[in-house]
Symmetry: C2
Subunit: 435 residues, 2 copies
């Protein structure tokens, strides 16, 4: 393989802005073939229910069951997975779960109301979603930490039932994933995956109950299916490849920064690790660390492709300009590896999660800091948020007019409704005006 | 036209549940032809910018401009529209705006943080979306109240720039809409519409700035375009036809209830007005009111089609069962036209907005109660909320580990990362463990 060259940029270059556009360009496209396959699967599962799910699962995952019920994992099986964990893993998972729960408790929205002088009451009632579907990928991308991160905010929100689906091709199950499901309070687990699992959750079958919202990552078939069922059920964001942006003042150990960049790069060949610093020498130092450490990494092939294709080392004028670049990128993970991260915080407008100070490795946030690791990717932090309790709660407006209030406001509504030629609206309001 | 027959249901019927499924079935489908047209428009506007928007607007809206800038409304023009309003309309619009603002101020999310015993800080930073695009339909469905309801939560959230697009086919502008835009603090207005307007907002052109989120209702081309650009920008819900569910104890004036049903029915032939009551006589009384009042309505043709196609009069056992039906339907508008609406409130699990008591006509909420009138339709209140300030804010997680905290949690993260075979994650965490 040719020598690893990582792209370098300098904010003083005339075409810096266009270069950034090019660096960041990313679009997940479901091609026509994928759309066609997914639409066929959705249609058949919707019409035929269990039998279609069984047929697809036998075909794609190599199972040979007659009834969908055979693919449900019992609560005892989940408990056995948890009980069977090595002590250090179980302890670590429990600490992570406790911290995730404690943080998310603070996100819980509460109902509120207020009463006006004439007795009219206005407010907002907050309620949990009834039932949530959690998609967990099989194979290499099956992360127990993701089970915690997706299931626990739903539990904190008060969701009554969480249905997890996870493909087990060739009958291979991931004990850590099952253990995490048990610990997080997942209610039922079905060993199905792909678009057929999404369809079953969205429409319901004889065996798999219809849910109100589907969350969790998956491959292109799962993502395409989620996008297609959006509206019939709620969905979370469609995630792109992971990214990290490290802003450094040049004084962090370059090995640390290199490893932090690796920790995103190892996820995926398309992952994007970026360093932004005003210190040109530091860029060289981090690059040296990269070359030194890369051969020692278990996932070096993935990391190298990510570095080659999508990484960037960006030299800026100062930390203020670094923050402008960060806001332009709106990264999923923003590490502020600087002396005084709190002074930079007011300048952050867009980021999924902000890791402050040299000790706050992004990897700590992935597992056990407390905040969620499901974060907006590909610049979507411009308009969206980490997965949270708020994703499993919804609001209803409350309006209770007093006789007096309805009379006064009836006149206002009447004028506006007649301005819009909606005279049934007007007359409905006018009925409430006192003689 | 044949006699108007409104469907009746009784919860004691054996197939009541299937009947409800049938009654509520609704699916907005963008057919292949619409998808094809929209995709072509999106592609061309993205590639060609202004010139494509100008070409489409000249073709579809009958304008004849050379430059997109000619289609921008000046701030003076908006102010003139506001100044030119009849006094009663201006006063009503101002009262509505004040009340909408006061209610939405209470929705504003605030940043928070807390520090753990070892000095580790966790938190959540709340920031506004930078720039929002507001789609306003031209023609019959152009509602000034909708301009207020979409723009004001964005302003309260702290959005710096709101770009409104509104088609003006044949050069026809709606003065009330412009006045509302002025009052709500909309920053720029372009007289373009359709998929080309959505594309311009999503991708930006030489003249129309790229936005971060697009909100507002539109026809099937607009809805299809919004769905397609989702991911590049945020979007609000894709709205279905409006619905109202009136739960009544049988003691409200049946004329009032009939008019409340009409006030949704007059929106749209597909709108769905439903009455649920334990009082069989009251169903007859409301039906009589409907027959009596319908001939007096300006929009009687639309109302009659809605009543014929989609309305329902549902007899239930008692108010508890009425609430079960309401939760099953998860209506956009839920009127609790009963003696003691507060006693029913704890039983409401899913509704966009709840109108409590006989005086709280749904129409009051549409204009000037304060809460938003952009609400989840077609049962999506199961998992989504009224448009609100929260739709224009996003959150970033904050994590700042102390040296001590990073060392303790580094060990936990290391165990979990190695359990997932993510060794760059593990080593990145391990660097922060104290010797």
């Amino acid at each position: 393989m040719s020598e690893l060259v990582i792209k370098r940029f300098d904010s003083t270059q005339a075409d810096f802005s266009e270069q950034m556009d090019q660096l960041l360009a990313w679009e997940a496209v479901s091609d026509d073939k994928v759309n066609q396959i997914v639409n066929e699967i959705l249609k058949r599962v919707r019409a035929e229910g269990d039998s279609a799910v069984v047929e697809y699962t036998n075909r794609f995952d190599g199972t040979s069951v007659d009834h969908l019920a055979e693919l449900e994992m019992s609560a005892e099986r989940l408990q056995a997975a948890l009980d069977g964990l090595p002590a250090d893993q179980r302890k670590a998972l429990e600490i992570a779960a406790q911290r995730v729960q404690a943080y998310h408790e603070r996100q819980k929205g509460e109902s509120w109301q207020y009463t006006e002088a004439d007795g009219t009451m206005l407010g907002q009632k907050v309620t949990p979603v009834d039932r949530v579907g959690l998609y967990v990928p099989g194979g290499k991308a099956a992360y127990p930490s993701s089970v915690l991160m997706n299931a626990m905010p739903a539990k904190v929100a008060g969701v009554k039932e969480i249905i997890m689906v996870v493909p087990t091709p060739g009958g291979v199950v991931n004990e850590l994933v099952l253990a995490a499901a048990c610990l997080a309070g997942v209610d039922r687990v079905f060993c199905v995956g792909g678009a057929q699992a999404v369809a079953a959750l969205a429409y319901g079958t004889e065996t798999i109950p219809q849910v109100d919202k589907i969350v969790g990552p998956g491959n292109i078939f799962v993502a395409t299916a989620k996008r297609a069922v959006f509206g019939a059920v709620g969905i979370d964001m469609i995630a792109g490849p992971s990214e990290i942006l490290v802003v450094c003042d040049g004084k962090t150990n370059p090995d640390w920064v290199a490893m932090d960049l690796f920790s995103q790069a190892e996820h995926d060949e398309d992952a994007q690790p970026i360093l932004v610093t005003p210190d040109a020498d530091f860029i060289n130092a981090v690059e040296q660390s990269i070359h030194k450490l890369l051969p020692t990494m278990e996932r070096k092939e993935i990391i190298e492709i990510s570095l080659r294709l999508r990484a960037a080392l960006i030299k800026v004028k100062d930390l203020d300009e670094a923050m402008e670049v960060a806001n332009r990128i709106a990264p999923e993970h923003l590490e502020l590896s600087v002396e005084d991260p709190e002074s930079l915080l007011p300048k952050v407008r867009h980021a999924g999660a902000i890791f402050m100070g040299r000790y706050t490795a992004e990897a700590l946030g992935d597992y056990c800091a407390g905040p969620n690791h499901v974060l907006p990717t590909s610049g979507t932090a411009r308009f969206s948020s980490p997965l949270g309790v708020y994703d499993f709660q919804k609001r209803s407006s409350l309006i209770m007019f007093s006789e007096e209030g309805a009379s006064v406001m009836g006149k206002v509504a009447s004028v506006l409704a007649r301005g819009e030629s909606l005279t049934a609206h007007a007359r409905s309001a006018e009925y409430r005006i006192k003689e």
